[in-house]
């Protein structure tokens, strides 16, 4: 494994470690692990140049199962550690694995800043709307009324949408997929990897023990076609088992509405065409909730901006070009000196 001499393309299993995976049987994390391993293989990634950084929580065990470099850090701080890794070595391919508690509760500040700075990393946020590792307390993405050991009468605070948060933070890439949708996920992960800058991917992930089936109303095989819409840049926003539903700008307001093609004279020409570069549209898409509206999957938003470390490195190069060879002796002797 990890033979440095071979440059042949690795297979997904080459990215698996010999460590026993310690997630609960049936956990959505298994599917994501498989999806990521496949993505790295498809991308032709080199294990030695790949680093997985995580915080604390079920999702954050992820690095132990990847035969790459991995750093399992402390609760909520993976984005900050990853920023340091990228500053020290911008050539490394850095993936952050976090969850709704790790990334949006204790680590909300760092997630905000890694996104707004546009550090060139992929952030995979496993959203299961619950705390798993601490045994089932509600999380910042849990719906109102979630009963948990810490909220026996149901939670009362409003939940947060990870993707809307990311857009608000100024993320330059925001996408979504679902743990079980193995055909869809690798494409999204590849797009995230291809983006220069911070790529945020919200992955709906089922916690089989503490929050089972919480996403079934839009992820169950029987409803996927009608309760999800896969957004594709430049294509009209169409969905439905019979491809007869779509999204158009609501009349007289800043919002989207779901319509059926052929009803009330609606044609494909009336539908919105997805534009990845439009943050307002991306926010409207991210905010859609089933069953009233389909849940949007795919690349909601993507825009090109210089990555943070690229700009930092450019400033360093500029400073080096502008001065002579760095000489500490000269620096110490600069300014006013005198001889005794």
């Amino acid at each position: 494994m990890n033979a440095p001499t071979a440059v042949e393309k690795l297979k997904p299993k080459d990215f698996a470690t010999d460590q026993e995976v310690r997630w609960c049987p049936g956990c959505g994390d298994y599917a994501i692990l498989k999806g990521v391993q496949k993505t790295l293989a498809d991308l032709g990634s080199r294990p030695e140049n790949t680093v997985f950084v995580s915080g604390i929580g079920c999702s954050s065990r992820f690095p132990y199962y990847m035969a790459t470099y991995g750093f399992h850090t402390i609760h909520g701080r993976a984005p900050a550690v990853a920023t340091g890794v990228k500053l020290a070595n911008p050539e490394l391919d850095v993936w952050i694995v976090t969850g709704d508690g790790d990334g949006l509760s204790i680590g909300g500040n760092h997630l905000l800043h890694v996104l707004r700075r546009n550090v060139d990393v992929q952030v995979l946020l496993f959203n299961n709307e619950i705390y798993g590792l601490t045994k089932g307390q509600y999380s910042p993405t849990s719906r109102i009324g979630t009963r948990s050991p810490s909220t026996p009468r149901g939670s009362v605070d409003l939940p947060l949408s990870p993707s809307v948060f990311a857009l608000g933070a100024g993320a330059t890439f925001v996408a979504r997929s679902v743990d079980t949708q193995q055909k869809h996920m690798p494409g999204v992960l590849q797009a995230a990897h291809g983006h220069k800058g911070a790529s945020f991917v919200e992955l709906f992930q089922n916690c089989i023990v503490y929050n089972d089936a919480v996403f079934d109303y839009f992820t169950d095989r029987s409803v996927v076609a009608d309760q999800q819409i896969e957004v594709i840049h430049g294509e009209p926003l169409i969905y439905g088992k019979d491809r007869d539903k779509g999204l158009r700008l609501a009349a007289g307001g800043l919002g989207l509405e779901a319509v059926t093609l052929g009803e009330d004279g609606v044609t494909e020409a009336d539908l919105m065409v997805h534009d990845e570069g439009n943050r307002t549209l991306a926010t409207l898409l991210a905010e859609m909730q089933a069953p009233e509206m389909p849940v949007a999957m795919g690349v909601l938003y993507r825009t090109g901006k210089d990555s943070y470390e690229q700009s930092v490195v450019a400033q360093m190069a500029e400073a080096k070009a502008a001065s002579t060879k760095p000489d500490l002796n000269a620096l110490l002797r600069s300014g006013s000196t005198w001889t005794v």
Partner: protein, 624 residues
């Protein structure tokens, strides 16, 4: 009056009284440019060949309401023809630029000392704001002092009239007028200040010209004025100082350069990640201007992110450095534990300030020794070193990087607000005299496991991402001693805990034995200090030894682990006194480590020790 050439300012000497040393305090409103005045006077004094020490003391408020006591900023300098150890217990001369400055500082002035006050600011309104019920120039308050009232405001306006500056801008030259006056009193050369002004205001020559005019006018005024009896021109001869090339340096500069030097000696790049906090921010500012030295600075979103980014950088093969003050270091605690557990090099600078909580951010204290040595969850040992003076911070910066990289451990460098901001003359070292300690990253894939150790040091090998064949996972979970895999095995945890502790204690074999700074290596009294108490302890012990008192001064750089011979050394004294600007932290460590009846001498006023305070304490012990 306008002149541009340095030679035209050579000081005139006429029947000047010779002094061995003088303490001058400049004080004024925080907008009066007092710190600038102080630093220029420092520069001129250094160039005159005096030894010196300074103490800048400024309020937390950036611009407190003008004329109020809490907006008073001060700068004290002690300079002389002899070795100067501290900024001085009591000023001989107080230069007060407004009544509030007089109010705040008069109590510190030596009996019979000189008060130079801007009488133009002594108005009813300003007196009220300063809390004077009557005019102190008239009501006898200053009877015990030599008072020299000068309408600095008016003189300054006259001196700069020809430049056409607005009244507001013109009054901002008051500090230079005052500086000119004090330059005359102590026979200082004005030309370096003239050069400095011309360079600083190269794009605004009218400002440079006005300031130079004010400086010269103050100087001429002093020369021509009828000075009050007891005040005149003075000469302070050059001190006997070891030959070499000198400069003045603040602790923040010296530490920044020391960290840069250590990074070069280790053949690494530095990522310096920090979050602004008083009084630590200057380190970030100095290093942010050193990009051409391969120093990358990162202003993080908070203290935790700063230390985490530094850890990430060390993981990826740079030396990660973070810096803060006590409250910020408290926030970094969990992450420092991660660096201990993953055995990654990390340097944490703590510019200590008075606490707890926000405390007094601009006031100095050395009360984070416990926090440094013990202040984390669980058994989490690391190395702690402390700078004793501004220039010493340079050596501490180098040593911190050496220890962090050699032992794969976090190292805390303790400094404080006083060291960070104070300046002293520094005999500039030659980098060629330092032995490099280049880091070599682990490359061998055969038999590799991430927690395999270098036998001599017990340090983990440093294998960095990007190295083929060494892919591995580390984290804060306990790992197996032999394989590095996650382990919850009870015996293994005990082994790992002991291994981490032994590695840190082993550093004591790699650092010099503790020496005695002054006096014998045994006897009646040892005064043991650490950090910025060096100056006052040193002078106090020196004075008492001249009086024949059997007292020695031991000053620690290595706080943890303690020097290997320290217990034996201290055991050779009848009494051990430990002066600290806290309620007794090192003294507790010494008592617990060596079972000796060491006694604390404690001060927590936010101000450095006075020499007299330490002398009194030693006397009491000597008599007892």
């Amino acid at each position: 009056m306008r002149a541009t050439k340095a030679e035209e300012f050579s000081p005139v000497g006429a029947e000047r009284q010779t002094l061995e040393s003088v303490v001058v305090r400049f004080a004024g409103d925080s907008g009066d440019g007092v710190q600038l005045t102080g630093s220029q006077f420092t520069q001129a004094t250094a160039l005159a060949g005096n030894d010196l020490a300074t103490f800048p003391d400024f309020p937390a408020e950036i611009r407190a309401p003008i004329g109020t006591t809490y907006g008073v900023s001060a700068f004290q300098i002690n300079f002389g023809a002899r070795k100067i150890m501290t900024a001085g217990d009591q000023p001989d001369v107080l230069v007060a630029l407004n009544p509030a400055a007089l109010k705040v500082n008069l109590g510190d002035l030596k009996q019979g000392g000189v008060v130079i006050i801007d009488s133009g600011t002594v108005t009813d309104r300003n007196l009220r704001k300063a809390g004077f019920e009557a005019n102190p120039l008239e009501d006898g308050t200053l009877d015990d002092y030599i008072v020299f009232p000068v309408d600095v405001s008016k003189m300054t306006l006259e001196a700069v009239k020809h430049t056409g500056l607005s009244q507001k801008d013109a009054l901002r030259c008051k500090n230079l007028w005052t500086l000119g006056l004090v330059y005359w009193l102590y026979d200082r050369d004005r030309s370096p200040t003239v050069d400095w002004l011309q360079a600083k205001f190269v794009k605004r020559p009218e400002i440079a010209e006005a300031n130079i005019a004010a400086l010269n006018a103050g100087h001429i005024y002093a020369e021509a004025a009828e000075l009050p009896s007891g005040l005149g021109g003075y000469t302070v001869e050059a001190a006997e100082i070891a030959p070499g090339l000198y400069r003045t340096v603040t602790g923040a500069e010296a530490l920044a350069w020391g960290l840069a030097a250590g990074t070069q000696l280790a053949d690494l790049k530095m990522v310096f990640a920090s979050y602004p906090i008083t009084p630590a921010s200057n380190l970030l500012h100095v290093l942010a201007n050193m990009k051409h030295f391969d120093i990358m600075t990162f202003q993080a979103e908070d203290e935790i992110a700063a230390v985490c980014a530094a850890i990430g950088a060390s993981y990826a093969g740079s030396i990660g450095v973070t810096s803060s003050s006590g409250p910020g270091v408290a926030l970094k605690g969990e992450a420092i534990g991660l660096a201990i557990s993953t055995e990654l090099p990390l340097v944490i600078v703590n510019s200590q300030r008075a606490g707890p909580s926000t405390g007094m951010p601009t006031k100095t204290e050395q009360s984070d020794l416990y926090q440094s040595v013990f202040g984390r969850n669980a058994d989490s040992p690391l190395a702690v070193i402390a700078a004793r003076a501004p220039a010493d911070a340079f050596e501490c910066g180098i040593e911190a990087i050496r220890l962090a990289t050699k032992y794969m451990t976090p190292v805390i460098v303790l400094t404080d607000g006083y060291i960070a901001n104070a300046a002293e003359p520094w005999c500039i070292p030659d980098m060629d005299d330092y032995e490099p300690f280049p880091v070599s990253f682990h490359q061998e894939t055969e038999g590799f496991q991430p927690f395999q150790r270098v036998p001599e040091t017990g340090a983990r090998v440093w294998a960095v991402p990007g190295t083929p064949g060494l892919e591995h996972r580390i984290g804060g979970i306990e790992k197996d001693y032999n394989s590095g895999h996650i382990s919850y095995d009870p015996a293994n945890h005990e082994t790992m805990t002991q291994t981490r502790a032994a590695k840190i204690l082993g550093i004591a074999n790699d650092v010099p034995e503790q020496t005695v700074d002054q006096g014998e290596a045994g006897g009646k009294i040892a005064v043991v200090g650490w950090g910025s108490t060096y100056g006052p302890i040193s002078r106090a012990v020196n004075n008492l030894r001249q009086d024949g008192v059997d007292v020695s001064h031991v000053h620690l750089r290595y706080i943890w682990p303690l020097p290997r011979n320290l217990g034996e050394l201290l055991g050779g004294f009848d009494k051990v006194i430990v002066p600290e600007m806290n309620s007794g932290q090192l003294v507790t460590v010494l008592r617990s480590e060596y079972l000796i009846p060491a006694q604390g001498l404690n001060k927590v006023t936010g101000q450095p020790f006075k020499i007299a305070e330490i002398m009194t304490a030693i006397h009491e012990q000597n008599e007892a």
